[in-house]
Amino acid sequence: MSRFQIAEAVREGRSLADLCPIIDLHGHAGPFPGFLVLGGDPKDMIAVMDRVGVQAQMVAPHIAIGPSARAGNEMALDMVRRYPGRFIGYAVPFPHQPETAGDELRRALDAGLTAIKLHPSVHQYRIVDPGYRVAFEVAAERDTFILVHTWRVDPMCTTAMLQDLAREFPAVPVLMGHSGGGPEGFPEFIGLARQYPNLYLDTTCSYTFGYWIRRMAEEGGIDKVVYGSDLPFIDARYGLGKVALSGLDDEALRQVLRENGRRLLAAAGVAL
């Protein structure tokens, strides 16, 4: 039997629902101001997920990382309630109001969201400052994880800042969204994943290549790479193709596309 059935299925355009139901840890929803987002409605997202074979999609609606964390968290909660088991929600804080950021996170997590998403670049807020730092405290309280947008050299989220937080909150898993955003960032972020047990790499990246996915798995650790698509910000099938045809065999791909995310979610109280 082939060790590359997942790659063959993708090449032939077959859903992975049976071979490897995907758990996608990096997604959004709704409109985005910078460009037209087609299919940002939850029902349209489900259609793409079904076509590809995604069992569960984690979401932080665009508006949550934009002008209203509260409205975005409510949208995520609505998606989770309407499509239980298909959407799993990130709670997003508004860091520029540090005095209320923690309360909003606790409220949203209590109401049904599962983990926390931070976007230092869009919020233009340093990840170590109080409005974001509280997110690490809440994640530690609630035994959950954080997805952080990372992008090459970002003064709002440097690798030194990530290391400080990883050391200070060793029980909080941090998914380094986009793994540094491209070949300029990948080597350093792979090194961080290797060095810190609670730092993880994320396949979501428009500038990635299959050979970088392999390097992440080989050097960062096969249990330290989680799958993300950015749906519907970006069409999910481009990213999936790079992962699935990367040369990793089925056993490794099952780790990346499903098991690593499943383990993180199980620790956060969501069984899939």
Binding site: G13, S15, F35, G39, Y211, I234, D235, R237, L245
Partner: protein, 249 residues
């Protein structure tokens, strides 16, 4: 599904080292992705000199009969020699298309800046490939309106483009778009349904983009098989065949 790649390069790059740089590594990549044929460019035509890039391209892909060259040009005889001379090289090399880099090479896609060249290419219906980063939407509109017989393929668009691309597709029937990282969610299905599947050409963007993305994008689309075939190879082969007929005549 048969695949013909409208967008791939050989040659080295200035700011990045890619593992695919010559005919051998490109052939390996095409085999990995199951791609049968390709329209190939040389990076030197963009980053060094169009004429030297074309010579390097023809040398590099010689013997690879599944590939067609895409020659680079500027509109200036000072760069390319007399226009007739360049057109003869297009004919001799059986080039499937011509590519222009107006932003990097600082020329204008206007009647005064490139009129003679575009007139000649339009008369042959020879497709012109324009990298998205090399054009502005108004300059592209000027070409499409000024030379309606000229098929223009915008390549490696990335995402964030639909608010400009869709009105352009609606307005200009001679505009085509390459799939290499046409990354907007559902753009492939939306364009095919509302503007026609004949407007999209399969491309990988190799080596600057991992072509596995385009392979999966098309294979896992919700398009009917007939449209997948059209986009995968049929549209490009038709455009290139039209041009060959014209050029031989």
């Amino acid at each position: 599904m048969r695949l013909f790649d409208i967008n791939c390069f050989v040659g080295g790059w200035t700011t990045e080292s890619y593992p695919i740089a010559d005919a051998g590594t490109l052939a390996d990549e095409m085999a990995r992705l199951g791609i049968e044929g390709a329209l190939v460019r040389h990076s030197w035509g963009w980053l060094h000199d169009p004429a030297e890039g074309n010579a390097a391209l023809l040398g590099e892909i010689a013997g690879h009969h599944q590939w067609r060259p895409c020659l680079a040009a500027t509109p200036l005889p000072e760069d390319m020699g007399a226009l007739d001379h360049f057109l003869a090289s297009v004919r001799r090399s059986a080039a499937g298309a011509v590519t222009l880099y107006p932003a990097s090479q600082h020329f204008s896609l206007t009647r005064w800046g490139a009129g003679e060249l575009l007139d000649a290419l339009a008369a042959w219906r020879l497709p012109v490939l324009l990298e998205y980063q090399e054009i502005t939407w108004p300059s592209l509109a000027e070409v499409l309106a000024g030379w309606p017989a000229l098929p223009v393929v915008v390549t490696r668009t990335g995402y964030r483009i639909l608010r400009n691309l869709l009105p352009m597709l609606r307005t200009y029937p001679n505009l085509y778009v390459d799939m290499a990282y046409l990354g907007d969610n559902l753009a492939l299905e939306h364009i095919s349904q509302h503007y026609g599947a004949e407007r999209v050409l399969f491309g990988t963007g190799t080596p600057r983009v991992d072509g596995a993305g385009s392979v999966a994008r098309l294979a896992m689309s919700t398009l009917p098989d007939e449209q997948k075939q059209q986009i995968g190879a049929g549209n490009a082969e038709r455009l290139l065949a039209d041009a060959v007929t014209q050029s031989v005549a």
